[in-house]
């Protein structure tokens, strides 16, 4: 009854360049590869004495975190500063917003202060979409996590880490283990892996932690970890939040660990050169054994380093897309 347009295309300019980064879903192989390649150049940069580039000098980046997070907030702050941007951090707890200003009003106020980019983390799925589509379409919106919908920068830093370790995506077998139901990271990872060419994507979880019809995203479902992890190249563990025990989703942490925790025994079922990843912070003894988290096949620390580079990449690309899609009154010289 209504014209079907792909809602994820609001992320792109008319020329197909990134101007918002909201979800990995709906982005082409070319764009995802460009993000990885651009991030690569920033990884090299981070290793040198000079860590700053002037790309975003004079631009204001506002970190708008409606959900508390020290780790993600600080990596975004660092990324923005390395691009020479002016950074404003706003940690707004949901309760104060619901008492006073609506999300829309908060953003309109910030917009009036001439911000160039919003990095938003919010507990409601669709928050980033809402902002990009209805509130401030001319300000680059970077999604730092919205409800259970997407965490695209995490997914891309995971992809970069996989690419560094394994090279090609197509022949890989990847397992995502844990609380898929509540995971925005898992959803973003699945879309990215598929677009990058991985055909064997497995989700491993008990039924209570699997979203309805998750297979429709193009994954194979396993409730038995031993079966699911067999011969995989990459094991991506997800965080299990303590609250899940209280909502009748799991009986106990120890039962979860016994069945779905990544131990050296279970890892032995994967390929001998399989790598282990986790978005952090890790719950040792709940999702993953210390021995595995600290072993040489664990890429957890690489993920952290790549996090800054990937965020620098998407911030530069989105700012570039926004600038180019604005009507330009004068020509540029060489």
């Amino acid at each position: 009854m209504f014209e079907q347009t792909d809602p994820n295309q609001i992320q792109l300019t008319a020329e197909g360049e990134l101007k918002h980064f909201i979800t990995t879903e709906g982005l082409s192989l070319e764009i995802l590869t460009e993000i990885l390649d651009t991030a690569d150049s920033f990884v090299d940069m981070s290793a040198k004495q000079v860590k700053k580039v002037p790309l975003l000098r004079g631009k204001t980046v506002v970190n708008l975190f409606f959900e508390a997070s020290t780790r993600t907030l600080s990596t975004f702050e660092l990324a923005a500063k390395r691009l020479s941007a002016d950074v404003l951090n706003l940690n707004i707890s949901t309760s104060s917003t619901s008492k006073g200003e609506t999300l829309k009003d908060t953003l309109m106020t910030l917009h009036a202060m001439h911000s160039d980019m919003f990095v938003v983390r919010h507990s409601s799925s669709g928050a980033a979409h809402f902002i990009a589509e209805h509130v401030t379409p001319d300000v680059a919106v970077i999604n730092a996590g919205d409800g259970r919908h997407a965490h695209p920068t995490q997914a891309m830093l995971d992809m970069l880490t996989i690419r560094q370790a394994k090279g090609e995506f197509a022949p890989l077998s990847v397992a995502i283990v844990g609380d898929i139901l509540h995971s925005r990271v898992a959803r973003s990872q699945i879309h990215a892996l598929r677009t990058l060419g991985v055909t064997d994507i497995r989700v491993i979880a008990p039924n209570t932690l699997l979203p309805r019809h998750i297979e429709s995203l193009g994954v194979k479902v396993y409730t038995n970890m031993q079966q699911g992890i067999k011969d995989v190249d990459v094991v991506m563990m997800l965080r299990l939040q303590k609250e899940r025990m209280n909502s009748a989703l799991l009986p106990s942490e120890s039962e979860f660990y016994k069945l779905y925790g990544l131990t050296m025994d279970k890892l032995a079922l994967a390929k001998p050169d399989a790598v282990v990843m986790h978005p952090g912070p890790i719950n040792r003894g709940v999702e993953i054994a210390s021995s595995v988290a600290d072993c040489e096949r664990s890429l957890i620390l690489d993920q952290v380093t790549n996090g800054i580079a990937v965020r620098m990449a998407v911030m530069s690309m989105a700012m570039s897309g926004q600038a180019k899609s604005r009507p330009n009154p004068h020509e540029a010289g060489e």
Binding site: L55, M317, K324, E334
Partner: protein, 171 residues
């Protein structure tokens, strides 16, 4: 020179002679050669070898220091800059293939100065297209060329090195 294919070797020789003469004056002891990606890096490699510069060769990618980010956005094909030693107090020999408006050199110098304070920077370019928009000049050039607004010059390489005049639309 009006033919579409310019004599890159002849220009390179002239550059080499100029640089040799400068170095023998003795005011730039233990110079550090840095080429600007991509054409300048190829030329620098050649010069570095032919003139037997002892310090390791460096390369600079100026993509992140360009002044036209708002108009042209980000170059997706960035290559890493590689400066093998500190630039602090050194005499830099900066090499590029073409100098036109001067903005590339400004970007390169901005980036260089982020790394440290050099003792001096000497600019060596193969070709000067004499269409400055900024007050920046090369110290040593291979040659000059006048081209029209719809033309551009491209150095191909790394071997053999060759210069071509192209119409802008061909890019």
């Amino acid at each position: 020179m009006t033919s579409n294919a310019l004599n890159a070797d002849a220009l390179l020789d002239k550059m080499k002679q100029g640089l040799q003469a400068l170095l023998s004056q003795g005011h730039k002891p233990d110079p550090l050669m840095i080429g600007i990606h991509t054409g300048g890096a190829w030329l620098a490699e050649q010069l570095h070898k032919d003139l037997q510069i002892t310090s390791p060769l460096g390369a600079l990618d100026i993509s992140f220091h360009r002044d036209d980010f708002d108009q042209s956005g980000l170059n997706p094909k960035v290559q890493p800059s590689n400066l093998p030693c500190s630039t602090e107090g050194r005499h830099i020999l900066l090499v590029d293939d073409v100098i036109m408006s001067g903005r590339t050199i400004r970007a390169a110098m901005n980036e260089l100065f982020d790394y440290g304070r050099p003792a001096s920077v000497t600019l060596i370019t193969l070709l000067d297209l004499q269409q400055r928009e900024l007050p920046i000049q090369a110290d040593i050039i291979g040659g000059t060329l006048a081209i029209s607004a719809d033309q551009t010059v491209k150095l191909t390489g790394p071997a053999p090195l060759a210069l071509e005049i192209r119409n802008r639309s061909e890019n």
